[in-house]
């Protein structure tokens, strides 16, 4: 192909101030464009416009969420900060877990791409979060995947779910990272807007922490990993067209600019005009990433990396401007040196390409040879593309001509900030008023028994095996707990047994009813799951999935959720170390259930003392920790049996959660399982099925409430010595109820309800997802 690349230089831009630019098509508002012109004192070049537009997008700049996210910092005390080595603002949060070990973890969304191309969208979501962890200087150790889909029986779910699961597995398995947990939640609100969040945990020695900054004039900037192609340049391709299609101007933006470009599934017009207006779908190459990981870790070991940054959304635009902005100098990049996969790419396209599996490092000149040697060993392409300068500008040249000359902070860190209108939607009162109190409840033993089975086989409560079997949970040999445990747990240090546990949770229905309490309930559940494994919760990450920030009602949900989460973390004394915001998750004007996925990290001194999930040995006493109230608003029961959603979610009791965690850490528990969606009934079903053991249970109070209420702060435990254990509960002020005992039979027997043989239960619980998805 002999395309002549038309280059818009800074000089040309200065002399042609009136050239119209397609900034609106790129997602920039009039005042944002004006501000760019003011910053530069001229119109931006095509390449600069590409950079600003993508870096100032909602996705990269957090322009709608920034003012709210500040609250996390404001509520983090010095004490909470004590163990935090890196926090919000870095690629990923880092916490000191003792013995010289630091853990870094983060969750990110890849929602829209996974709707367009489920396999690749999910795969590259995993790839992206893993590079974030790698960029902190850590070895990635495990992944998790909180997922949300439309109704389980909707035809599009049959397209999206298998592809997403195969993509998460295909990438993670090939990378050699165990999958230690996640979520699969179905709700019609995610129809047309599935949520694919991916979490990665990594570990490093404290002294190896690498932060993303470019300092030291004369240091070299090296791009390494995959070649740069036309992947995901999406919107930016309008810059290369001679005529700008104005057809997008009038439509309501449904997706944030970064992802909107991938919206056209098939644009017939784009086929004729060669490669212009490409959909921004990227294809992942997990093999290249695996090699890149090993290569990076060897570079870290050699101590020859001054700064490092992964290339994710916004590609080189993001990496160069962030590295330069966070450093103490400027940067000069020779763009023509970037190894390309396609011919005829323009500077704007190269800067915006989202080709996967690339990293950017800053290296002292004397170490460049050693750096290149390591890259050659791993067959990783590495190219010196520039250097750190002592100025304060990011200058990018293309065959000697300047195409970018900007103050890097204005691109990376000083983007627009919006105070979006916030208002509690008027319908919220009606939602809260519509309690489930009048819904018909099962009362006879037959009805209760039938309802237990129906719930166990419902899509949200049925076995996740069809999904989790597609994920390698063993690789690396450090997985202590994975599915079906409440939390995932990995061993960090083989000599001491020190390890970490991790869980991520959210119930979007609770958050819909009350976003403040709902976010706290998500925190409470993740915290409880980690505690149930025997670990001590220490830090929090989150992925805030919401509808359009331009909707004041959505902004209210967002603001409330942030406040609830931050206040909850302050109460528990564990800091939020990082997270991710994903807005514009909606179909038409209908937003998804507000879904702030909360991930909690816990530490355990010796993984050998973990608490297994399910039931203990036959003869062990079954005890329910916590209290049960009549709380069915937002419950799985109301959803499955009545399709009802209204009222107030269960009461939050974080102090109680902390007491439960402390009691569990004290020992004396042979197995445990927390109570969440589906209440005690579901906890009993899961506990018996995962251990293959039966139990005999007697309920106190109204059996329906006892079985299906979703009161928070409750855990089912098996204890060999109930007297000693309950004495300790009493001491800690923790209410408990004796439920019964683990039996040597293979049935779940509930006094006054009847007997459920495990094979019958198992068939119902295991059958649902395979029947739906083959």
């Amino acid at each position: 192909m002999t395309t002549t690349v038309h280059v818009d230089t800074t000089g040309h831009a200065a002399s042609t101030p009136d050239t119209p630019q397609p900034y609106r098509e790129l997602g920039l508002k009039d005042d944002e464009y004006t501000r760019i012109r003011e910053i530069l004192g001229r119109r931006p070049t095509d390449a600069e416009l590409a950079m600003y537009s993508v870096m100032w997008s909602e996705h990269c700049s957090y322009k709608s969420s920034k003012v709210h996210l500040k609250y996390f910092g404001e509520t983090t005390t010095e004490e909470m900060r004590a163990k935090m080595l890196a926090g919000i603002g870095e690629n990923a949060g880092v916490v000191d877990i003792g013995d010289g070990w630091a853990i870094t973890f983060k969750v990110e969304s890849h929602n829209h791409p996974s709707y367009v191309e489920p396999y690749q969208g999910a795969a590259t979501g995993v790839g992206g979060i893993v590079r974030d962890i790698l960029a902190m200087g850590a070895r990635p150790l495990a992944v998790m995947d909180p997922l949300r889909f439309g109704a389980a029986d909707a035809p599009d779910t049959r397209r999206v779910l298998p592809g997403v699961v195969a993509g998460v597995g295909g990438y993670g398995n090939c990378l050699g990272l165990p999958n230690i947990g996640g979520e699969v939640v179905f709700d019609p609100s995610y129809q047309g807007n599935p949520l694919v969040n991916a979490l990665c945990v990594g570990a490093m020695r404290v002294e190896d922490l690498h932060l993303a900054h470019a300092s030291g004039a004369g240091n070299k900037v090296i791009l390494f990993g995959a070649r740069t192609g036309l992947d995901g340049i999406g919107g930016v391709s309008v810059l290369a067209s001679d005529t700008f299609a104005g057809d997008e101007g009038g439509t309501e933006p449904m997706l944030d600019p970064a992802s909107r470009s991938s919206a056209p599934m098939l644009d017939p017009a784009s086929r004729s005009s060669a490669r212009k207006k490409l959909p921004s779908v990227q294809v992942g190459d997990p093999f290249t990433e695996k090699v890149l990981i090993e290569c990076c870790l060897e570079l870290f070991r050699e101590g020859i990396v001054v700064g490092i940054q992964d290339l994710g959304g916004a590609g080189l635009s993001c990496a160069t401007s962030e590295l330069a902005s966070a450093g103490d100098g400027g940067m000069h990049v020779y763009l023509e040196r970037v190894p390309l996969r396609a011919t005829g790419m323009t500077p704007a396209e190269i800067l915006s390409s989202e080709s996967q599996e690339r990293m950017c490092a800053v290296v002292a000149p004397s170490d460049v040879d050693a750096f290149m040697r390591v890259c050659r060993k791993w067959d990783v392409i590495a190219t010196e593309i520039g250097e750190v300068t002592d100025g304060d500008r990011l200058v990018i040249t293309w065959h000697g001509e300047t195409v970018v000359d900007v103050p890097p902070r204005t691109v990376a860190h000083e983007g627009p900030v919006y105070e979006r209108p916030v208002s509690r939607p008027p319908v919220q009162d009606d939602i809260v008023a519509a309690t489930p109190d009048a819904l018909p409840r099962p009362s006879t033993s037959d009805e209760l028994r039938a309802e237990i089975l129906r719930m166990a086989g419902s899509p949200n409560l049925s076995s996740r095996r069809w999904v989790t079997e597609q994920y390698d949970r063993y690789v690396r040999g450090g997985t202590v707990l994975a599915q079906p445990s409440d939390a995932g747990m990995i061993r960090i240090d083989e000599s001491t047994g020190r390890g970490v546990a991790m869980s991520c949770d959210c119930n979007g229905r609770y958050t819909y009813l009350d976003p403040y309490a709902g976010a706290q309930l998500a925190l409470a559940e993740a915290y409880r799951n980690v505690a149930t494994s025997g670990a001590r919760p220490v830090a929090v990450t989150n992925c805030l999935n919401f509808g359009s920030p331009e909707d004041p009602g959505v902004m209210w949900q967002f603001q409330q959720a942030v406040r609830g989460l931050a206040d909850g973390c302050a109460e528990l004394g564990i800091p939020v170390t990082g997270g991710n915001v994903s807005f514009y998750n909606q179909t038409g004007t209908t937003a998804i259930l507000p879904t702030p996925v909360v991930g909690v990290l816990g530490v355990i001194d010796d993984v050998a003392s973990r608490i297994p999930t399910g039931l203990g040995a036959p003869g062990d006493t079954l005890i329910l920790l916590g209290e049960t109230h009549d709380e069915l608003a937002g419950s799985e029961w109301a959803h499955v049996v009545h399709g009802h959603l209204g009222g107030q979610p269960p009461v939050v009791n974080l102090a109680r959660e902390a007491v439960i965690a402390a009691v569990l850490r004290d020992g004396g528990v042979s197995a445990a399982h927390d109570l969440s969606e589906g209440g005690l009934a579901q906890a009993l079903v899961e506990s018996t099925l995962v251990t293959g053991r039966g139990c005999d249970v007697e309920l106190t109070g109204d059996p329906f409430v006892a079985l299906f209420s979703e009161s928070s702060a409750r855990v089912l435990v098996s204890v060999p010595d109930p007297d000693a254990f309950t004495a300790r509960c009493a001491e800690a002020g923790l209410p408990w109820t004796r439920l019964g005992a683990v039996s040597a039979t293979s049935s779940l027997r509930i006094e006054g309800v009847g007997e459920l043989a495990l094979p019958e239960l198992s068939e119902v619980w295991e059958g649902t997802l395979p029947a739906l998805f083959g």
């Binding site: 367009v116 191309e117 690749q120 995959a226 192609g229 036309l230 992947d231 599934m265 098939l266 490669r275 490409l278 959909p279 779908v281 990227q282 294809v283 992942g284 190459d285 093999f287 290249t288 996969r341 396609a342 080709s355 996967q356 067959d379």
Partner: protein
């Protein structure tokens, strides 16, 4: 009855890690002179004479390939 072939290939601008892996391996195996390799899928369908070209195109575009990342070619073998 007719035999129909559908070849599905990654779009030219889309990364093709599989083809790449083959291309990189060939010189190591001593085969030179091959400058590029792309790998796709090859389907062979046994089709009733009642199935027209339009239907075949629908199957190819909506099911055998994802038009976001792949191109396809349908051929009827005589």
């Amino acid at each position: 009855m007719a035999r129909v072939v559908v070849d599905v290939m990654p779009k030219p601008e889309i990364l093709d890690p599989q083809g790449q892996a083959v291309a990189n391996a060939l010189p190591r195996l001593g085969f030179t002179g091959i400058s590029d390799v792309r790998q796709g899928k090859h389907f062979e369908l046994e089709v009733d004479d009642s199935v027209d070209d339009e239907t075949l195109a629908k199957i190819a575009i909506g099911f055998l390939s994802n038009p976001v990342i792949e191109d396809f070619v349908v051929r009827r073998l005589s």
